[in-house]
C-alpha cells in the first residue's frame, strides 16, 4: 500500500502547532552585556545595518554587512591565498567598506590544538588583543578561519564564566595599552556569505545548474559552542548547520548528500604536520572516497582553512592506492566569486590548489586556458619590476 510522502510535512506542521520551546541554554550575549554594565569590559556593538540570522535554538544572531575588520587565517593567507583574496573580492564587489589590518595576530589556536604549547591565559589574551585592535580601528571583527571562530567562542565562554581569567587578561591588555573589549557577536565570514547569498545570486554570471557539490562542514564551526551556529528550517529541515549548503543552492548549483557528512576532515592540527598518515587516510577514505562513491560531485566546498587544505592536499598520495580520487576542493567564497565572474587565477588563485580543478572550470563555462594566459602575462609584467604587485584593479580587468 503506497504511503503518501507527506510524512515530513505532517511532522513539520505538528512541530509548529506545538509551538517553539524556549532555548535550553543561556544566551551568553546577555552575560556579555551584564558584564559591561558591571564595568568589567566594553562591548563592541555590531554596526548598522546588519542582517539577522537564526542559530541552533531559534535565537537571532546579528551579522554586520559592512565596516568589518578582517581577522585573517594563517593557513588561508599562507597556503591557499585565493581563499582570502576571494573573501575580500566579494566585499569589494558589493562596494562595502572593510579593513584588512596589519595589527592582527593569528588566533594561535592551530598551534594550541596541535602542540598545547600555550595555556588558557595566553589564548584568551591573544583573542582579546585582536578584539581590542578591531575596536580601536572602529571596524567590527569578522573571523576568516573556522578554528579561530570556534576557539574564540570558547574563549568568550571562559571569560564570561571566570572572573579570575578576566582579571588576568585585563592586566595584560592594560600593559599592552589595548582596550578590554568583547564584541557583541563573534562572526565567521561564512555566516556573512550566508546572510548575503541573495546578493551574490543576483550578480551570478555563470550557469551552475549542472554542477554537483558536496559540502563539508567544519567541525570547529558547529561543534564548539553548538548553540552559536546557523540553522535554517529550509536547509536540511533545520537539522544540520545551513552555512555553505544554503549558498550553493542560492547560486543555482546542486547540493548532494553523502553518508559521512558529519565526519571531521581529518586535519588533526598536529596530524597534518607530523602524523600525516592519519590525515591523508582519513580524508580520502572517510570523506573523498565516500563522496565519490555516493554523490560523484564536481567539487567539494567547505568554509574553513584546515578543511580545504586537508581535502585538497590529501588526494595526491591516495592516487597511488586508489585511482578513484580527484575531486577539486575550494571554499564557498572562491566558488561564489567564480560564479560572479571572478578570474580563476587573479582572484580565486587556483594555481595554489593541488587536486585537478580544470575540468570543473570547463564545466562551469570558464575558459581556463585563456585565463591562465592572462595570468602568465601578469606574471611576466611583475617579473620585470620586483617592486610591483598585482592590484585589485588588475584583478578585474
Amino acid at each position: 500500500m503506497p504511503i503518501p510522502l507527506t510524512v515530513l510535512d505532517t511532522r513539520r506542521d505538528a512541530r509548529d502547532e506545538r509551538g517553539p520551546a524556549s532555548p535550553p541554554t543561556e544566551d551568553v550575549r546577555e552575560r556579555v552585556f551584564e558584564l559591561e554594565a558591571q564595568g568589567e569590559w566594553l562591548v563592541q556593538r555590531v554596526p548598522e545595518p546588519w542582517i539577522g540570522v537564526t542559530t541552533k535554538y531559534g535565537r537571532t544572531k546579528k551579522i554586520p554587512i559592512a565596516r568589518t575588520w578582517h581577522h585573517k587565517s594563517c593557513g588561508q593567507c599562507g597556503h591557499i591565498p585565493g581563499y582570502s583574496t576571494s573573501i575580500f573580492w566579494l566585499i569589494r564587489k558589493l562596494g562595502l567598506d572593510y579593513s584588512d589590518p596589519k595589527d592582527q595576530t593569528s588566533c594561535t589556536a592551530w598551534n594550541y590544538y596541535a602542540s598545547a604549547t600555550s595555556n588558557q591565559g595566553a589564548q584568551a589574551a591573544v583573542a582579546m588583543r585582536n578584539f581590542g585592535a578591531a575596536y580601536e580601528s572602529g571596524y567590527f571583527p569578522m573571523i576568516h578561519c573556522g578554528t579561530s571562530y570556534g576557539h574564540y567562542k570558547e574563549v568568550r565562554e571562559e571569560l564570561v564564566h571566570s572572573a579570575d581569567l578576566r582579571d588576568e587578561v585585563r592586566r595584560i591588555c592594560d600593559k599592552l595599552g589595548k582596550p578590554f573589549v568583547m564584541p557583541e557577536e563573534i562572526v565567521h565570514y561564512s555566516e556573512w556569505v550566508y546572510a548575503m547569498r541573495d546578493e551574490f545570486a543576483k550578480r551570478r554570471v555563470l550557469d551552475l545548474s549542472s554542477i554537483d557539490v558536496t559540502v563539508h562542514p567544519a567541525c570547529h564551526y558547529h561543534k564548539l559552542v553548538v548553540e552559536d551556529a546557523i540553522y535554517d528550517p529550509d536547509v536540511y529541515g533545520g537539522q544540520r548547520t545551513a552555512v555553505v549548503s544554503a549558498v550553493v543552492t542560492a547560486l543555482g548549483a546542486n547540493v548532494k548528500d553523502y553518508s559521512t557528512w558529519f565526519d571531521c576532515c581529518g586535519f588533526g592540527f598536529r596530524h597534518i604536520l607530523v602524523q600525516r598518515d592519519f590525515t591523508r587516510s582519513f580524508a580520502t577514505l572517510r570523506k573523498i572516497d565516500v563522496m565519490r562513491e555516493e554523490a560523484n560531485p564536481d567539487v567539494v566546498l567547505t568554509h574553513d582553512t584546515g578543511c580545504v587544505t586537508t581535502l585538497d592536499q590529501s588526494q595526491f598520495a591516495a592516487r597511488a592506492h586508489k585511482p578513484n580520487v580527484g575531486i577539486p576542493v575550494m571554499s564557498e567564497a572562491q566558488f561564489a566569486a567564480l560564479a560572479m565572474g571572478a578570474h580563476p587565477y587573479r582572484v580565486a588563485q587556483l594555481h595554489w590548489h593541488n587536486t585537478e580543478y580544470r575540468p570543473l572550470l570547463e564545466k562551469m563555462g570558464i575558459d581556463w586556458r585563456e585565463r591562465w594566459r592572462e595570468f602568465e602575462d601578469d606574471l611576466e609584467r611583475l617579473k620585470k619590476n620586483d617592486k610591483t604587485f598585482l592590484t585589485w584593479e588588475d584583478a578585474d580587468v
Binding site: P2, I3, G237
Partner: protein, 355 residues
C-alpha cells in the same frame, strides 16, 4: 465555600480524578482542550500498555465510562483562562466553544499532562525532519495500534529496526537533565509488538542504561530478550544519515569497545517527556510553582506527591514530571481525596501537611 472540584485536563489523570470525586458524592467540572477525552494516549494512538500489554483503547474506554456520571460536568474544547481566590473559594474562567463562563470551585486538580520531546531540537543529529524512516515512539504506537509496522518511505515492512533511547532526556545540553522514566519500558514493549508482527525482522535497542523498575524487569525486559530475541546494545548513537536508500547509524558498542556503523530500515527515537503547553499555561494562570523544567512543582515530595505550592490546588499525572500509568492513576486518586478534603473544609492550609 464551593462544593465543586475543577479538574483541568481529560487524560487518564484527569478522568480518574474526576471519577473519584464523583464516586465520593461531590461534583467535578472536567475541562479538556480537545474535542474528545483521553489525553495523550488517545491523541498519540497508544496501542498496548506497558508492561502487561493490555489495550490502551480499552483502558481509555473504561476511563471515559467512569465519568459518565451526573456529578461530572464535562466541558470539551475548553480551556482555563483565569483564576482568582483561594482554597475553598476559587473563581475560574472557562473559555469554550460558546464563549467564556465563570465558575466557583473549592479545589483544583491540574492534570494537563506532558508532550513528547521534539527530536528536531536535540544536539545529536537524528534527521527526524529529513528522513521519513526515522520515527518516534508515538509514531510507532500509531502504526502498532493498527496492527501494522512499515517503513514510512516505502510502505513495506522493515527487515531491521533500531530504537535509540534517551532522546531528549538525560541531556545537560538540552536542559532536560531528568530521566523520562517510561521510554525503556515502552521501547521494549514496542520491540516485542514488532517482533510479534514481523517474526523475521531483527530489532535492536541502543541504550545508555536500561531503566526497568520493579516488575518491568521480569515482565518486559527478560521476555523481550528471551522470547522475542530483541538485541540490547549498550552504546548511544551520534548521528543518522542516509546511505543506499536506508539509514546509517553510527554509535559505539561500548561493551565490545568498538565503533559501529549499521544500516537500518527504520529507526525509532525514544523521545522523552516535557511539560505540555497546557501544563505551562495553566501553571502560570494558577500561580503554582514550576520546577526548572516547567513541570508543576511538588514541594512536599516524597511524602506528598500531589500537593502544589498553592493550598487547594493539586496535581496528578505527568504535569508534575515523567510518570508512568501506575503513578498517574495513584496520583489521581490521591489528588481527588485531597481535593475533597479541601472542599469539605477539612484541609489544613499548609503544604505537605502530615496526615
Amino acid at each position: 465555600m464551593s462544593d465543586t472540584v475543577l479538574v483541568v485536563g481529560g487524560g487518564p489523570a484527569g478522568l480518574e480524578a474526576a471519577r473519584a470525586v464523583a464516586e465520593m458524592g461531590s461534583k467535578a467540572i472536567l475541562l479538556e482542550r480537545r474535542a474528545v477525552l483521553g489525553g495523550t494516549p488517545d491523541e498519540s494512538s497508544y496501542a498496548a500498555l506497558t508492561p502487561r500489554m493490555g489495550s490502551a483503547q480499552d483502558a481509555l474506554d473504561l476511563l471515559r465510562a467512569g465519568v459518565e456520571d451526573p456529578n461530572v460536568e464535562i466541558h470539551l474544547e475548553t480551556q482555563l483562562t483565569a483564576c482568582s481566590g483561594s482554597v475553598g473559594d476559587f473563581t475560574v474562567t472557562l473559555d469554550g466553544p460558546s464563549g467564556a463562563t465563570t465558575a466557583s470551585v473549592g479545589a483544583i486538580v491540574v492534570a494537563t499532562g506532558f508532550q513528547h520531546f521534539d527530536p528536531g531540537r536535540e544536539t545529536q543529529m537524528y534527521g527526524y525532519y529529513e528522513y521519513p524512516d526515522v520515527i518516534t515512539l508515538p509514531d510507532a504506537e500509531k502504526m502498532l495500534s493498527q496492527h501494522r509496522f512499515v517503513r514510512p518511505s516505502t510502505g513495506e515492512p522493515p527487515r531491521n529496526v533500531a530504537f535509540i533511547q534517551c532522546v531528549g532526556s538525560r541531556d545537560r545540553r538540552l536542559g532536560n537533565e531528568y530521566c523520562s522514566k517510561v521510554c525503556c519500558g515502552v521501547a521494549s514493549k514496542e520491540a516485542i509488538e514488532i517482533r510479534r508482527l514481523l517474526p523475521d525482522a531483527k530489532v535492536y535497542i541502543f541504550y545508555i542504561d536500561m531503566r526497568m523498575y520493579g516488575y518491568w524487569e521480569n515482565e518486559i525486559y527478560w521476555p523481550a530478550q528471551e522470547q522475542y530475541n530483541v538485541n540490547y546494545i549498550r552504546g548511544i548513537v551520534t548521528e543518522i544519515v542516509a546511505k543506499d536508500g536506508r539509514l546509517l547509524m553510527k554509535g559505539e558498542d561500548t561493551t565490545m569497545g568498538r565503533p559501529l556503523e549499521v544500516l537500518m530500515d527504520v529507526i525509532v527515537l525514544s523521545v522523552g517527556m516535557e511539560p505540555s503547553r497546557g501544563t505551562r499555561d495553566v501553571a502560570g494562570i494558577l500561580g503554582v510553582d514550576q520546577n526548572k523544567y516547567g513541570f508543576v512543582a511538588t514541594p512536599g515530595e516524597p511524602m506528598d506527591p500531589v500537593g502544589t505550592s498553592v493550598p487547594g490546588i493539586f496535581v496528578a499525572g505527568a504535569a508534575a514530571g515523567p510518570k508512568d500509568l501506575e503513578d498517574t492513576m495513584s496520583m489521581a486518586g490521591a489528588a481527588a481525596m485531597r481535593a475533597l478534603r479541601a472542599i469539605r473544609g477539612q484541609a489544613r492550609a499548609e503544604v505537605g501537611a502530615a496526615r
